[in-house]
């Protein structure tokens, strides 16, 4: 199992290198001179030349890629000053180091995604469990049809409705805003409540359906029947045998869904005007801020790969057949 994880880490690292090369190639595939983008509206040839030199665009591509990669590991010097590792370059727009901007925005996005993850796993798996235990009853049918409807509710559609309902007309909650958890945990929690729920609703609905169906499948398994035949209580059998068995397929899907979750965070940040990494990504694309786009892309790729590693480790944790082979 340990060897397996190491192999996967090595694989993830290779993928990261490939992604970086790909994004870097993208940088040059654009028909426009990147320096022109950085130069802004009132671009003089002198300015352009300076930018060319600053960005190292006068060097061959491979050398530039090497510089870029070296910057991530060891830091790099720019006209605006020394950029500490990990250095993803300088933004075209505000001359800030890309990494600093990302670091500023990261806590919000992390709060959003991790919080959303916790919410939809708790609610989704919980509701799925309740539905499976009461299979065929009114509760089951209500949960199933509700999740069917909710799974088609998009964030950008639901967001404004919830805002209108809970903020503008009733005033129960104030507009979503981000307060760092280190400053005021309560405000952090209240401020993100609406985005969390809106973002995780589709996921909650999907995980309700999925955990319900895998649980019902598991309840038909032979080993569940054996546990019952041993005299174990219904509750014990349900949780220790059936639920335990339903985890593996859920974790599999979760690994795939992490990318979707990040996409959900982008839409959520835009919907609620929150300044996170997702919004940063959109802005960087709109303003053609290539270093920023690359930085965001690499950081999110690293995040997803890391999550997948965690999923692999969780696999080994929940399934001895994976752990011991």
């Amino acid at each position: 199992m340990f060897k397996f994880l190491i192999r996967r880490s090595v694989g993830a690292f290779v993928i990261l290198i490939l992604i970086s090369a790909f994004t870097f190639a993208m940088f040059f595939a654009i028909p426009q001179d990147p320096a022109l983008l950085a130069c802004g509206k009132n671009c003089t040839p002198q300015n352009l030349a300076i930018i060319h030199e600053n960005l190292g665009l006068d060097k061959p591509i491979t050398a530039q890629y090497w510089e870029f990669m070296k910057g991530i590991v060891a830091g790099r010097d720019f006209a605006v000053g020394h950029c500490d590792a990990p250095c993803f370059g300088v933004s075209f727009n505000d001359d800030r180091f890309v990494w600093d901007t990302i670091i500023d925005r990261l806590p919000l996005t992390l709060s959003l995604t991790v919080g959303g993850l916790v919410i939809f796993l708790t609610l989704g798996l919980g509701a799925g469990m309740i539905a499976a235990r009461n299979k065929g009853t009114f509760i089951d049918k209500a949960f199933s049809s509700a999740s069917l409807v909710l799974s088609s509710m998009q964030i950008y559609f639901l967001g404004p409705i919830v805002l209108g309902l809970l903020v503008y007309s009733t005033g129960w909650l104030s507009s979503p805003k981000y307060v760092p958890i280190t400053e005021n945990p309560a405000a952090w929690f209240v401020g993100l409540l609406i985005p969390w729920f809106v973002m995780s609703l589709i996921f909650t609905a999907n995980y309700t359906r999925m955990s319900r169906s895998t649980l019902i499948e598991q309840l038909q398994e032979d080993h569940v029947r054996t546990a019952k035949a041993k005299g174990m209580s219904e509750k014990y059998v349900f949780f220790r045998y059936a639920w335990r068995g339903s985890l593996t397929p859920i974790v599999t899907i979760l690994g795939i869904d992490l990318g979707a979750l990040l996409g959900g965070a982008i839409v959520t940040e835009l919907t609620f005007s929150l300044a996170g990494v997702g919004r940063l990504a959109v802005e960087s694309v709109l303003y053609k801020d290539l270093p920023l786009t690359m930085g965001v892309m690499l950081v999110s790729a690293a995040f997803i790969l890391l999550c997948n590693l965690v999923v692999d480790a969780v696999y080994g944790f929940i399934d001895p057949r994976v752990r011991l082979s």
Binding site: E221, T226, K230, M232, G245, D319, L324
Partner: protein, 354 residues
């Protein structure tokens, strides 16, 4: 000999004398296609220390019956009527709590496929120890000790280390041994073995059958052994009950049923299986047709659509109209006269068996 073969002077038909008594059992499932009449009018008894073999093909109701004894059917979709009395205790109306206390304790079950019947997520030791802890209140350590002791008893080498293995680390035969250890961990009085050797290789099957027989001598449990294989039954059972289409069609001691079978279905089973010592020039005589649908069971005798002797029944009795009853004790549910049963078997069936 068990009370299956009791004579006129035997105890009351409620079976107060025997350890397990099933009276007039009906099991029905409601499905989307309709009501499945899985078991009908079934009555039998088993005594301590004896083995009852239930033979039948798929859909005969043999497994359903035993899941009903353990109370493992989903109560929402299953209707069970009749009496199941275990050691004087009525089980059909018993609460879930009562049944939990009996399962794995007083009565235990061994399933067919030990790979799927054991959970892949827990160690063998834990799965064996679980019912022991639940029913005796033993500590974790005591349960582990007990698991090791049981593994040793069923012939698992190095039980002290194997106790911490997971099922996928065991071979097929060892898994079934672990399954037996799990069933016997609380010294059950009744052991139900549902096709316990069907998924195993023949040399391993022989080991497991011998093991079960030896363990029965030691533990003195009553065993209900379900199988489709008459050879296996001949090896382990004291008494045999043959089931077809959700009903018992013949019963008697193993010697009686295998030496002088009375029901045309039993004849069909015997003459359709080749045997090691048989005459290879003799063609197998299969039972024509297919087993009945339990949604729409045939009227009268459930076997009549496939029976080659239905026209031989004397005296205006219609196999399609009147359902023959299975007599108490030795007998077969068939309209043929005792004389016919004897002569047809000797003259027509026995020569086919080679």
């Amino acid at each position: 000999m068990t009370t299956l073969t009791k004579t006129e002077g035997a105890p009351s038909p409620t079976g107060a004398g025997s350890f397990l008594s099933v009276r007039d059992l009906h099991v029905r499932f409601s499905t989307e296609d309709g009501i499945v009449k899985a078991v009908n009018n079934l009555s039998f008894e088993v005594e301590r220390g004896k083995t009852l073999g239930i033979v039948g093909e798929s859909g005969s109701g043999k497994s359903v019956t035993n899941l009903a004894i353990l109370g493992l059917h989903n109560p929402r979709s299953t209707e069970i009527t009749g009496e199941i009395v275990l050691d004087g205790q009525e089980l059909t109306g018993a609460s879930e709590k009562t049944m939990e206390g009996l399962r794995g304790n007083k009565m235990a079950m061994i399933f067919q496929d030990p790979l799927t019947a054991l959970s892949p997520y827990y160690t063998i030791g834990r799965q064996i120890g679980e019912p022991f802890r639940k029913h005796t209140g033993a500590s974790k350590r005591e349960a582990r000790e007990r698991a090791i002791e049981m593994l040793e008893k069923v012939g698992i080498p190095h039980p002290k280390t194997r106790v911490d293995d997971y099922p996928h680390q065991f071979s097929g035969g060892m898994r079934q041994r672990a399954m037996i250890a799990m069933a016997l961990v609380c010294d059950p009085d009744l052991l139900i073995a549902d096709e316990p050797t069907t998924a195993l290789d023949v040399t391993v099957q022989a080991q497991i059958l011998d093991l079960l027989k030896d363990l029965q001598q030691e533990f003195g449990s009553a065993i209900i052994f379900i199988t489709h294989d008459l050879g296996v039954i001949a090896d382990v059972a004291d008494d045999i009950m043959v089931m077809y289409g959700g009903r018992a069609v013949e019963r008697g001691t193993t010697g009686e049923v295998l030496r002088a079978p009375q029901h045309p279905y039993t004849w069909g089973l015997l003459s359709s299986m080749p045997r090691l010592g048989g005459d290879v020039s003799q063609k197998l005589r299969p039972i024509e047709g297919t087993p009945p649908s339990l949604l729409n069971p045939p009227s009268g005798c459930p076997f009549h659509p496939r029976c080659e002797f239905k026209d031989k029944v004397p005296g205006g009795v219609s196999c399609a109209g009147d359902r023959p009853l299975l007599p108490e004790g030795r007998g077969a549910a068939c309209h043929l006269t005792p004389e016919q049963k004897r002569t047809y078997f000797i003259e027509q069936i026995k020569p086919r068996l080679g």
